[in-house]
Subunit: 351 residues, 2 copies
C-alpha cells in the first residue's frame, strides 16, 4: 500500500463549533485530529457548524446550536436533530469525494452510510454501556468503531471494534508549568465527575482547591447541593475556563483531582494536566488505568483515604517525566498516526 | 396513468406503537391511512415499532420507546434517535421495493432520501413556524411535503408544498351519540390547549365539564397551577382515555370545547367529536376555520364571552348533519384518496 495522501471527511457534532470556545471535548478532539492529519499531508474536509475554524475545507449548512441560541434566544427542541440532518445531507452529497469518512457522533449516519461503498469509521465520545448504544450496535453490527479506550472497547461487540485510539492534544497546546499551587478539579459539576469528593480530599489533606467547570444543565441541583455549601477561601469555584486560564490553572496545580464516579470513556483533562507536567490523582474507573501510570504520572486510587494519601506522596513524582510521558503517548500527532493506520486498514478491506 | 396498485412505504414515529394505545395523533393517522390504502388495493409496508399492529407488511427493528421504558424503566436519552436510525436503515435497505415513500417525521430522512430516485412525501404533524422546521425547509428546499391544513401550509416555502391533505378517521371508528351531557375538553393539559379556558367557559355557561387528557411532561406545573385548583363535582378531570372511553365521552357531550392558544396544525379531536355528531366550539386559530363550519358543525369564537354564547346556541345545531359533514369530509377513505392522488402526481413527476 502506498503512503499516498488520503481524502478524509471528518463529521463533527452540531452543538458547539469545532474547535469549541469553552467546554466540548469531542469538538476539541475533532479539531486537533483534523489539523494533525493536514500537517501529515492528507486532504481533510470538515463537516461542521459554520462558526467553526479549521485549516481543512469546511462544509457547513448552519451555525452551531450555541450560535443559534445566541442569535435567537431559546430555540425549538428539534434544532439539534435538524442541524444533524443538514450535515448528513452534506456528507451524502460529497460522499464520492472521500476515501474514508470519520464520524464523531450517532446515530443516523449509520443508516446513511449502510449502503455506501465508501468505508467509514465512527468514534463514540461517550459511554457505551447504556441501552441506546447497546441496541444501536446490536443493529448496526458491522459499523466500524474506534474505541477511545480499552475500557470503552469492552462494551463494544467484537464485530464493531476496528481498533482503540487514545485521544491526543497538540504537543504545544499546553506548556509545562511550575506546579506547587492548589489542587485542581476540572470538569462539569455533576455526580459523574464528583467535585464533592475533590472538596473532601482537599480538606482532609489540608490543601487548597480550585474547582473549574460549568454547572450541568442536566443536573442543575447538584452544584447547589453538593458544591456551593462547601466553598470558602481555600476551596473556590472559578467557573468555566478557556484554554489560557486552563494553562494557568493546570500549570500551577500541584495535582489534578479526577475522582470520577462513572465509566469515563477517556478523560481528556487527564492528558491536559500531564501536558503541563501536572500529576493526576484519579479513581480506578473506566479509562483511568490506561491513561495514568501509577507512581509515574500520578496515582490511581479506590477511596478518599487513598486519595488523601496520594496528595501527600505528590513530591515523589517528577513533573519533567510526566511531560515526557505525555509527549510519548498523548500528542495529537500520535493520535493522527493511529487513526491513519486504521483508515488505511479499512480502505484496504473495502477494496 | 393506470390505476394500478402502488407499492407504498409508510415511515412511522418511534415513540409509541402504530396505532397508539392512548395519546398519539400521528400514529393514529399513520395507522388509519395505512389500513385505508390497503382497503383501496395498494401494497403498503409499514416501518414502525415492533409492538405495532397492522394489516400491512411490518418492518421493525425494535419496540417503541414506551415499550422499552416499560421493560427497562428510565432509558438513556439517545434511545429515540437510535430507534429512528434503525428505522431509517430499514427504509434504506428496502427503498428499491417502493414506488413512493411517505414519511411522518423529521429530520434525518431528508438526508437519506436526498440522493434517491424513489419519490417521497413528508407529512409534518406539528407546527411549522418554529426555527427547527424553518431552517429545515430552507435547506431541504425540494423535499415534497403534504401540509395537514391550509394554515400549516402557509408556513411552508412554496417549493416544498406538494398539497394539502386534511386528516381523516375510519367512518366506523366512532358512532353518533345522543349528546345532551356535559361539555368535554380533550387534549393535553398545557397552555397550548388551554383547559383553563374550558373551565371558565363551562362555569360561566352553568354547564358541567369533563376534562380528558394527560398531564404534559414538558409542562408539568400547568395542571397543578391552572386546572387542579378549579376541579369540583361539575368540573372533573378523568385522565387519559382510550377509544372506548372517548366514544362514551364525546358521544354524550353536548359540545367539545377546543379553546386552543397555538397554531394548531390540524386538531384530530375536532373530527372525532364530529364523528360522534358532537359540535365543536373552537378558537379561531390555526386549522380551526378549515375544520369547523360555523353554525353547522360548531361555532368559531374569538373570546371566552363568545364561547359562552356559543354554548347557549348549541340547540341550533343538528347532530345528524354534523355526522353527515364528517362522513363527507373527514373519513380515512377520503384522506387515503387525497394521498393517493398526491403519490401518483409525485411518481409521475419522478419518471
Amino acid at each position: 500500500m502506498t503512503r499516498s495522501a488520503l481524502r478524509i471527511a471528518q463529521l463533527a457534532p452540531v452543538i458547539v463549533p469545532t474547535p469549541p470556545e469553552h467546554a466540548g471535548g469531542t469538538e476539541r478532539v475533532v479539531s486537533d485530529l483534523t489539523e494533525a492529519l493536514i500537517a501529515a499531508g492528507h486532504e481533510v474536509t470538515l463537516i461542521a457548524p459554520s462558526d467553526s475554524r479549521t485549516s481543512a475545507r469546511l462544509l457547513s449548512g448552519y451555525p452551531s446550536l450555541v450560535a443559534l441560541q445566541r442569535e435567537h434566544g431559546a430555540v425549538a427542541p428539534g434544532v439539534p436533530a435538524m442541524l444533524e440532518a443538514v450535515q448528513l445531507d452534506l456528507l451524502r452529497e460529497h460522499l464520492h469525494e472521500f476515501d474514508i469518512v470519520h464520524c464523531h457522533g450517532e446515530f443516523a449516519h449509520a443508516a446513511l452510510l449502510g449502503g455506501s461503498a465508501v468505508p467509514s469509521l465512527t468514534t463514540v465520545h461517550w459511554r457505551l454501556d447504556e441501552l441506546d448504544r447497546q441496541l444501536f450496535f446490536r443493529w448496526f453490527d458491522r459499523l466500524q468503531v474506534a474505541a477511545i479506550s480499552g475500557a470503552q472497547a469492552a462494551c463494544l461487540p467484537g464485530g464493531n471494534l476496528a481498533g482503540i485510539v487514545h485521544h491526543g492534544i497538540p504537543a504545544d497546546h499546553y506548556r509545562p508549568g511550575p506546579g506547587g499551587g492548589p489542587l485542581v478539579f476540572l470538569g462539569r459539576m455533576t455526580d459523574q465527575k464528583r467535585p464533592d469528593r475533590a472538596i473532601r480530599i482537599a480538606r482532609a489533606a489540608g490543601a487548597e482547591l480550585r474547582l473549574a467547570g460549568g454547572i450541568d444543565v442536566g443536573n442543575p441541583t447538584f452544584f447547589a447541593r453538593a458544591v456551593e455549601p462547601f466553598l470558602c477561601d481555600a476551596v473556590a469555584h472559578v467557573g468555566e475556563v478557556d484554554d489560557r486560564a486552563k494553562q494557568d490553572l493546570l500549570g500551577h496545580a500541584s495535582a489534578l483531582l479526577f475522582p470520577i464516579d462513572w465509566p469515563e470513556p477517556f478523560g481528556l483533562v487527564m492528558i491536559e494536566a500531564m501536558a503541563c507536567g501536572t500529576p493526576v490523582i484519579a479513581w480506578r474507573k473506566g479509562s483511568v488505568p490506561e491513561v495514568v501510570e501509577h507512581g509515574i504520572t500520578g496515582f490511581i486510587v479506590d477511596s478518599e483515604d487513598e486519595a488523601v494519601d496520594a496528595v501527600r506522596r505528590l513530591p515523589e513524582l517528577d513533573r519533567g517525566q510526566i511531560r515526557a510521558v505525555f509527549e510519548a503517548r498523548f500528542t495529537a500527532d500520535r493520535m493522527a498516526r493511529d487513526y491513519e493506520a486504521l483508515y488505511r486498514r479499512l480502505i484496504g478491506r473495502a477494496r
